[in-house]
């Protein structure tokens, strides 16, 4: 393989620090071999945790309780508002409470297969093992999961699997899990072990003697640029789906913390692995600011179809049964409407490209509950999905109990993220990355209800065991704002802000963000081609130059300035967007959510190329005008046989 003109190839990554031995024992081995810190010494050690979503709040609560001095940051006005709050459908765990053949091995197997053999076996196995403890922990905290009449926990099934292992709290599972973690966090705030800073945005990482030792944050109310120091830094800053402008992510989700760390030396892994979720409410106009997910759980009972004939504009009710194409049930009889997300999304795109889409602009397919209502009764459908149906009705003005929902795929989740080893440590010593912000467990496609599982596994159970090993060598030499590295990092932030405010151009930040999003959607979305990606890279470079020449950021730094906040995020998204395209260009195979039109089977399914691409692409920053450096981590499968996925 030769490097294309956009990147250079660096040293491969040989050691991910996963212990050797039987996969079942690796996590035990690591926990046993990791150094411990005795409780009296923990009080002398400090940890900065950026982010209070499931991954960050659970870690802060656990490490605070353990006795470390924790400082936490989030950009919202309360830690409870982190984007995890919006997760709807549920959280997986290999409890096998249904006695339907589930097991840790099966959850592991499903996740490796669902990720299309681009994740690490050791990490995924640990995730499956830990899943069981998560549910226990959450129930103990008072998370009100759905229960059956006998008082035991209820389960549902999710896409890409054939067992019922998903625990849920109506359509608000993320909310309930986050509130559990948030309450545990606030308990530590009251106990004085966690110092919580809301409305503070991390804008730089401070590295001293090669170790992550602090962060520069902006107080979003006063504009003050502050330096904070600790013995270790944890980034739990979430995913970067908003690079597409329109996504199901919260408006403030951003890549800034991760990107700043990347520029300082952290490798960014598999940036092009993004998940496009099949069931979202279609775009209604160009003022649209975000897209709303309709939980995948709806696919348990809803049937997806389009008219058989092109351009059939009759209302759904007037289209007789034999003129409807339930295309997922037809193409994938084994999994039907429950095929994994990437497959369902691409199938929707294909039928719309054929001219059989429904609704304005033909960019939609039906998700129909008529059969479910007839089979289960209205009341039972309402009990299961009521809040989702209400949300749909509010947004579209249509009643989904009477007419089928219209749905279309939208950007939802990013499997890529900062590269971490088995300990969740990045390539910068002392900087750990948890939750959606890291790349570790989902390969090229994440299964439903697995992100909540991973966020909580990382925060409650994995990081608190592995970070000790690093901290046992501390406390490290004290640093404060007079250290040259701190001064330099702060200066960098101040200069950047001054530049934004000085440009005073003619285009708004959002107009750049929308343009970037359109480029990404058109060329680095559901289908990618060599030519398209090259076009995208050229367009993004032009956009970047124009941004720094012509963006308009009004107001001043010394007050709440939401335009300034967004300018910083969009500037980083533009750079990330380019790296995503470069990564997608390098990966000349289709796998999971990454579909290269050049690599497909005769019937249009994704075709992996294991011989050439069974690796994690971990990118090093190449400098402002330099080329990114590709470090490959080879993936090996000992416990799951690599084969082309088939859901037929």
């Amino acid at each position: 393989m030769t490097a294309d003109s956009y990147h250079v190839v660096g040293e491969p990554i040989r050691d991910t620090k996963a212990p050797a031995g039987d996969i079942k024992d690796r996590w035990d081995t690591r926990r046993f071999e990791a150094k411990l810190v005795n409780p009296a010494n923990r009080r002398k050690l400090s940890i900065i945790i950026v982010g209070t979503g499931l991954a960050g709040a659970s870690a802060a609560a656990t490490l605070g309780e353990a006795g470390y001095q924790v400082t936490s940051f989030c950009y919202q006005d309360s830690p409870r508002r982190a984007h995890s709050i919006a997760a709807q459908g549920g959280i997986n765990a290999a409890k096998n409470y249904r006695n339907d053949g589930d097991s840790i091995y099966r959850l592991f197997y499903d996740t490796v297969k669902g990720g299309d053999f681009r994740s690490r076996e050791s990490n995924v196995y640990r995730l499956a093992q830990t899943s069981v403890e998560i549910i226990d922990q959450c129930v103990a905290q008072g998370v009100p999961f759905a229960r059956e009449y006998g008082g035991l926990l209820d389960n549902r099934s999710f896409g890409g699997v054939q067992v019922s292992r998903t625990f849920y709290a109506r359509g608000q599972t993320g909310q309930q899990l986050l509130i559990g973690a948030y309450q545990a966090l606030e308990r530590q705030v009251a106990a004085g072990t966690v110092d919580m800073h809301t409305r503070h945005e991390m804008l730089e990482l401070i590295i001293v003697d090669g170790k992550a030792r602090g962060v520069i944050v902006r107080d979003m109310v006063s504009g003050e640029i502050e330096s904070h120091f600790a013995d270790a830094v944890v980034l739990a800053t979430g995913g970067y789906g908003n690079v597409f402008f329109l996504s199901t992510n919260a408006m403030g989700c951003n890549v800034t913390a991760n990107w700043r760390a990347h520029r300082k030396g952290a490798l960014f892994a598999n940036p092009c692995f993004t998940q496009i979720h099949p069931t979202c409410i279609p775009v209604s106009g160009d003022y649209q600011s975000k897209l709303t997910l309709m939980s995948e759980s709806l696919r348990n009972d809803g049937r997806i179809w389009v008219p058989k004939a092109k351009g059939d504009a009759r209302p759904a009710a007037d289209i007789p049964e034999e003129e409807r194409d339930y295309y997922l049930e037809r193409i994938y009889p084994a999994f039907g409407n429950l095929v994994p997300r990437d497959i369902a999304s691409r199938a929707a795109k294909n039928v719309c490209d054929e001219g059989r889409g429904v609704g304005p602009g033909g960019l939609g397919v039906y998700l129909d509950f008529a059969d479910a209502i007839a089979r289960l009764g209205l009341a039972s459908v309402e009990a299961k999905y009521g809040n989702l149906f209400d949300m749909y009705a509010k947004i579209t003005g249509e009643n989904p109990y009477q007419t089928p929902m219209r749905i279309y795929p939208a950007v939802h989740y990013t499997m890529g993220g900062l590269w971490v080893d088995y300990d969740l440590q990045s390539t910068i010593p002392g900087m750990f990355v948890t939750g959606e912000a890291n790349f570790s467990d989902h390969g090229a496609n994440r299964l439903g209800a697995s992100a909540l599982m991973q966020g909580l596994a990382d925060g409650y159970f994995v990081l608190p065991n592995t970070i000790n090993d690093y901290l046992a060598d501390g406390p490290f030499v004290p640093v404060d704002e007079t250290h040259p590295a701190a001064i330099e990092a702060k200066q960098l932030v101040e200069d950047r802000i001054a530049t934004f405010l000085a440009i005073n151009g003619s285009r708004t930040v959002d107009s750049f963000h929308k343009e970037l999003g359109q480029i990404m959607w058109d060329y680095c979305g559901m289908e990618r081609t060599d030519e398209g990606l090259r076009t995208a890279i050229a367009k993004i470079r032009e956009l970047k130059a124009e941004f720094w020449r012509d963006v308009k950021v009004s107001g001043v730094n010394e007050e709440l300035n939401q335009t300034l906040e967004r300018a910083g995020r969009v500037a980083d998204f533009i750079e990330l967007g380019e790296l995503m395209c470069i990564d997608a260009l390098d990966r000349r195979e289709s796998c999971g959510g990454h579909f290269r039109a050049e690599s497909q089977t005769e019937d249009g399914e994704a075709m992996r190329d294991d011989e050439n691409f069974a690796y994690v692409a971990a990118w090093g920053y190449g400098g402002e005008d330099g080329k990114p450096i590709l470090h490959k981590e080879a993936l090996e499968y000992e416990y799951v046989e690599m084969k082309q996925r088939s859901y037929k």
């Binding site: 309360s78 709290a169 106009g285």
Partner: protein, 259 residues
């Protein structure tokens, strides 16, 4: 302003918006004409479009809190024509312009409460709600100590009722709507959520005493059962949670004095 193509239903609106530079500045209502608003827009998208225009006109865009835009994070919230979250019982972000008609004049103000100081324009500081949770709105369950999730069954009715109370998003609309500026509905939702579960029993007394104590210390007013809170609550938190809080409070006070 352009919509989805069909512009026949577009509306011309006049907004009167509370503008306040910072916590210590005086504020005032400022008028803006907003033409051609599509009924399919959300209320916040309408403000986005206005803000884009203000930016290009060298005016300061209107600051407002928001994040998920799905009615779940609780970040958004303004008083619209005198009603917290506006004319529909939902969050501000889930309000759509089809709830308004051409020619409407819309007043937009921040949550008004002494315990929610204004930060800028429509943004207020709701840190007081976090501090009420800090006082006792949790179950002490250190990580790793939990028994199997099925060790303690919870009757479905209790679990469902606990869930209903737990859906509070901490938006603060109840406070903004209350003539007494009370945060009792918010506090009672948490007391109810945790108090209905077996896991919540050991700390039930201390929880209610500490949370109500913090509620009062933050300067929120007392509850006189007016019910304006539940009328605007986007999650339909019921007044019965406050009755439950009162029962718990009496019980806790009784056992404290008995000791």
């Amino acid at each position: 302003m352009t919509g989805s193509g069909d512009t026949s239903k577009d509306m011309d609106l006049k907004l009167r918006v509370w503008r306040q530079r910072g916590p210590k500045d005086d504020g005032a209502m400022v008028e803006y004409d907003v033409p051609a608003v599509s009924p399919d827009m959300s209320f916040l998208e309408m403000l986005d479009v206005l803000n884009e225009r203000l930016t290009l006109e060298d005016d300061d865009p209107i600051a407002f809190d928001h994040d998920c835009r799905e009615g779940i994070c609780g970040a958004c919230g303004v008083v619209i024509n005198g009603i917290a979250h506006g004319p529909e019982v939902t969050t501000t972000c889930q309000l759509h312009m089809r709830s308004f008609t051409d020619g409407d004049v819309i007043d937009i103000e921040p949550w008004r409460s002494g315990s929610f100081p204004v930060v800028k324009d429509l943004v207020v500081d709701r840190g007081s709600l976090d501090r009420i949770i800090q006082a006792g709105g949790y179950i002490s369950a250190p990580t790793g100590t939990a028994p199997d999730a099925h060790a303690v069954p919870v009757p479905k009715d209790d679990a469902d009722a606990a869930f209903d109370a737990a859906t509070c998003i901490g938006c603060g609309a109840c406070v903004a709507a209350c003539p007494n500026g009370s945060a009792m509905l918010f506090t009672a939702a948490k007391i109810t959520h945790l108090g209905l579960l077996p896991q919540g029993q050991p700390e039930r007394d201390s929880r209610v005493l500490d949370m109500v104590g913090q509620h009062d210390a933050e300067g929120f007013g007392g509850c006189s059962q007016i019910g304006e809170c539940t009328a605007v609550c986007p999650k339909g938190i019921s007044l019965s949670t406050i009755s439950r809080l009162n029962v718990d409070l009496l019980g806790a006070l009784r056992s404290t004095y008995a000791k």
